[in-house]
C-alpha cells in the first residue's frame, strides 16, 4: 500500500492504494471517477485513455504512482474545465460527438474524446488523415469511425466559424454539385486556417 497525491481534473487529491495498482484502478476504485473504462486491461483498446499533462496516456498500463506530479484529466474533467474557462455546456468535442451520432454504446468514447481533445489542443485544424492517425490507438467497435471523424471535423469547423463538409449521409440528400461545393468551401477554409496557423 502506498499513499498517492494526484492532481486530477484540477484538484489535488490524496489517496492510498496497493503499490501495483494502475492509474485506471485508482481513478475508478479509489476516486470513483468511473468515466475512464477498462476494455482490455493491457493497453490494446484505448478505452482507458486519460490526459497526462495534456498528452493521451493509457491509464491501464500506467502505474498510479507514476502519475504523481503530473496533471491528470479524465473525461469527467472536460466539461468542468470548459466551464472554468467560461465555456457553456459540454466541451466542444463532447458536444460534437453527441451531435454527430459518434456515441453509440459510448464505452470507448471517453478515451476517444480525450485523444481528440489532445489532438485539437496541439493541432487546431487537423486533416482527416491526421485525425485518423491521432485516434488510431482508440478502438471503437460500433461506429466504423466515420461519425467520429465527422464529429472532430465539426468541432474544428465550429471553432473556426466555417461550415463543415457534408457528412457521409448528408451528401446523398444534396445535389451532387452542392455537396461538392460545400465540401470544397470547407476544405478551402480549413486550408486557409492551417496556413495561418503555420505562419
Amino acid at each position: 500500500m502506498r499513499t498517492l497525491r494526484l492532481q486530477v481534473n484540477g484538484d489535488t487529491l490524496d489517496t492510498a492504494a496497493p503499490a501495483h495498482w494502475t492509474l485506471l484502478e485508482v481513478l475508478r476504485y479509489r476516486l470513483n471517477l468511473t468515466g475512464s473504462k477498462q476494455g482490455c486491461d493491457k493497453g490494446d483498446c484505448g478505452a482507458c485513455t486519460v490526459l497526462l499533462d495534456g498528452k493521451p496516456h493509457l491509464s491501464c498500463i500506467t502505474l498510479a504512482a507514476m502519475a504523481e506530479g503530473h496533471e491528470v484529466v479524465t473525461i469527467e474533467g472536460l466539461m468542468p474545465l470548459h466551464a472554468a474557462r467560461g465555456g457553456e455546456g459540454a466541451d466542444p468535442i463532447q458536444s460534437a460527438f453527441d451531435r454527430c451520432g459518434a456515441l453509440q454504446c459510448g464505452f470507448c468514447q471517453p478515451g476517444m474524446m480525450l485523444s481528440a481533445r489532445a489532438l485539437l489542443d496541439r493541432n487546431p485544424c487537423p486533416t482527416r488523415g491526421e485525425i485518423r492517425e491521432a485516434l488510431s490507438g482508440n478502438l471503437c467497435r460500433c461506429t466504423g469511425y466515420t461519425q467520429i471523424f465527422e464529429a472532430v471535423e465539426l468541432a474544428v469547423a465550429e471553432s473556426l466559424g466555417v461550415a463543415p463538409a457534408p457528412r457521409s449521409w448528408e451528401e446523398q440528400r444534396m445535389k451532387p454539385e452542392d455537396a461538392q461545393r460545400v465540401a470544397r468551401e470547407a476544405a478551402a477554409a480549413l486550408a486557409r486556417a492551417r496556413d495561418e496557423g503555420a505562419r
Binding site: 475508478r28 468511473t34 490494446d44 454527430c100 451520432g101 454504446c105 470507448c108 466504423g144 457521409s168
Partner: protein, 797 residues
Amino acid sequence: MAARDQHGPGSPWGDHAPGARENQDFRVVGRPLPKVDGLAKATGALAYADDIVLPGMLHAKTLRSPHAHARIKSIDASRALALPGVHAVITGESMPIKFGVIPWTQDENALAVDKVRFIGDPVAAVAAIDEDTANDALKLIDVEYELLHAFYDPQESLRRAEPAIHEGNKGGNVSKHVHLAFGDVDQEIGRADVVVVDAYSFHGTTHAPIEPHCAIGHYGAEGVLTVWSSTQITHYVHRALARVLELPPQKIRVIQPALGGAFGGKSDPFSLEFCVAKLAMITRRPVKMLYTREEVFYCHRGRHPMQMRYRTGATKDGRVLGVDAKILIDGGSYSSFGLVTTYYAGQLLTGPYAFPSYRFDSTRVFTNKPPCGPKRGHGSVQPRFAFEVQLDQVAEKLALDPIEIRRRNFVGENVTTVNGQRITSNGFLECLDEVERASGWRERRGKLGFGRGLGVAGSMYISGTNYPVYPNEMPQAGVQLKVDRSGLVTVFTGGNDIGQGSNSVCAYVVAEELGMDVGDVRVVAADTDLCPVDLGAYSSRVTFMVGNATIDAARKLRRQVVDAVAEAWKVEPRRVRLIASQCIDLEDTGRAIPIREAFHIAEARFDTLGSTGSYNTPKLGGDYRGGTIGAAPAYSFTAHVAEVDVDVETGRITCSNVWIAHDCGRALNPMLVAGQMEGSAYMGLAEALIENHEVNRFGLHSGPNLLDYKLPTSVDTPELRALIVESIDPEGPYGAKEAGEGPLHPILPAISNAVHDAVGIRLKHLPFTPGVVLKALRALRAQDAVTAPAARDGGKR
C-alpha cells in the same frame, strides 16, 4: 395491440400513412437529433455495469477448464476456502439445473457438472474481498480431470458420435439438422443454361464489444435478488435465473445498466449472472464479476464457422432457376441459439432474389471449442457470402454486369418467397441504383487498371422475428407511459438499448405523437421491476416492435388528453391538436395552452394519467415445420459496392471505399441509421480481411486479446458512405425497418467480387489474408501459363 391483424386492414401507424399530409409534416421523425443519453455518455456520467459499486461488495472470479473435453473426477475447494479474504466457493453442484436460451436445447450449466466441453468452460467461482484474493483462491482449487477425446474438426463430429460431447443427445454429436426443399430443384437446375457448383467457407469471428461482460448480484434481506448485468436480453436472463436458482420469478429483478456494445455477444444468459446471484445468496453481500478480455474471447457466442456447397442454375439471360445448398456448421460446445442458426442459414437466403426452387440441408455439429451463437446478421452472413459470390460467378459465365444480374432476379414487393416468407416493402432496386450511381460503377468498373476493382453484393435481413424463443400468446413488446404534472412524460420499456439508440427511438416517438420536445421525455428501460416485458435486443426487432408499441401507447394517451381538452373547450376533438409543446384549437388560433395544462385537464377529467401500448406480429411464415423461423413482419434490403486495391507482391487487399445503400423503411433518425450502416460495414469488412476467431488444434484461441485478434483501427477503416433508401414499410413505426444487422452482409462478398474484378481471382474461403491471395494469384498464373499460349493461337487463326 398495434399489429395489422388487431387493427383491421389499416396501417398501425394510421394517420401517418404514406402520402398523408402528416407524412411531410413530421416534427421529430426524420431529423438527425442527438440521442437522449448522448451527453451523459459524452461526459462519462452514465454508469455501465462495472461502474456500479455497492457497499460491502465482494469480487468474484471464475476457474475455467484447461482441457477441451474431460470428465471432472473431483473438485476440492477446501484450500481456497481457507484463504483469508475468501467468502465463498461454488461449483457445478451448487446450481445443477441446466439452462439455455432456446427452451428445447438447454444444455448449459452455470458451472460445469461432471464434465467440461471446451478450454474455458467455467468450473468453479470464488467470491473474495477483492479481485487479487479471488484470483489467488482460484489457484488453490484442486480439480482432477479424466481426459476425453476432443473434437476440433466438424467433419469428425459428423462422422463420430463417441465420445458424445453431450451425453444423451439424440443425434450423437450433431446439434441440429434441417433439410427443407421448395419446388423441384433438380428439375429446375437440370433445365438451366448455366450451372455453377462451388464450395465456400467462413472461418469464425467474434463480437469483441469493448465492454467486457460484467454482472453484480445483490440479495436483499427481504429475499429479493437483484442482478445488474451487461445483457442485451433482460427478460431471458430473468427467466433463466428463476429456473437455475429455483427462485420465484417475482423475487428476482434484472437491470441492464448502460451497455458497452453487444452485437449479439450478450444475448445468452452467461455463467457470471448465475454465479454472482448464487454467491450473493450464500454470502448475503453484493458480489461483482467482471470478465477479463481473455474470458470474453472464450465465452464467445460468435459467428459460426461454416463449410458451404452451393449449386445454382440460371437461364442464359441470368434468371436464377434453382439453388441447392449444403451447409456444415461448427457450433462449438453448446447449443446456444444454434437451432435458430441452423434454420437461418437456409431460410434467410430467399430474397432479395426470386428463387423458383430452393433446397438447403444444414447441419450444426458440436465440437470442443468455445460455443458459437448469434453475431450481428445471425446465421445468414455466411450463406449470403457464398451465394453472392456464386451469383457473380454466374454473371461472369454469362458476361452479364453483376448489378444487372441482381436487378433481373429481384423478388419484388408484396410477394411471398419460395419458402413462404411474406415480403412487404422492398427497396432493393433503389439500393442497387444508389450504389451504382454513387460508386461511379458504370464509368469506373473494369477501367481502374490491374490491381484495383469494384464489386457488388446484395442482401436481405429480418426486421424482428415473429417467433418468441418461448412460445406464448402475449405481446412481443410492451411500453408504458407515465405523465407527471410538470409536463414530463416517462416511457417505461423493457427494450434493451445496447448503443443502437432504442431508448432514443422511444423518446422520438412520444415527442412526435404528443407534440412535445424530446428533452421533456425520459426513458426508463430494461429493468424488470419497472418496465413491461420486451423480448430484448436481438433479431433487429427493437425499433420495429418497441417503436410500434410506443406509438400505440402514445396514441392512447393523446386521445385521452385531446378528449379531455375538447370537452373542457366544448369543441370537437378533431379541432384539438398537440403541437410544439402546446395544446391548440385548430380553428381558433388564439386558443392555446401549454401541454402541461392539457395534461392537468386530462388528469382532472379522467384519472392519474398514463397509458400502455404493445406490439405483436401478425401470423407469418410458411405452413411447415420451421416455417416460422425466419418469418419477419418486414425485411430490410441492402446493396454494397466495395472498391479494393490488391497488392500482387504482398497479397494484401486494401479496401478504400464502401458505398452502403440500405432500405431501412424510413429513417426515424438518418444520423443514427447511417451510424448503424457504417458500423455494420466496418464490422463485416474486418471479418472479410483481418479478423479470425481461430481455435488451434489444442483447443486454444490463437490470440484472445485485442492486439492479436485484429479489430480495424481508425487508419484501417475505409471511407464509408451511407446511402439511405426509404421504402416506407406498411407496418413498421412510421414505415421504419431495421438498420443494425442487414447492412453488414454484403460487404464480405462485395470484397471478394471486387478482388475478382481487380486481379481475376475468386476468393471463396474467408478470411482473405495475404497468404490466401498470393496462393490464388500463383494458381491463376500457373493456369494462365497453360491457357495463354492456346488463347494466342486462337487469336492467330
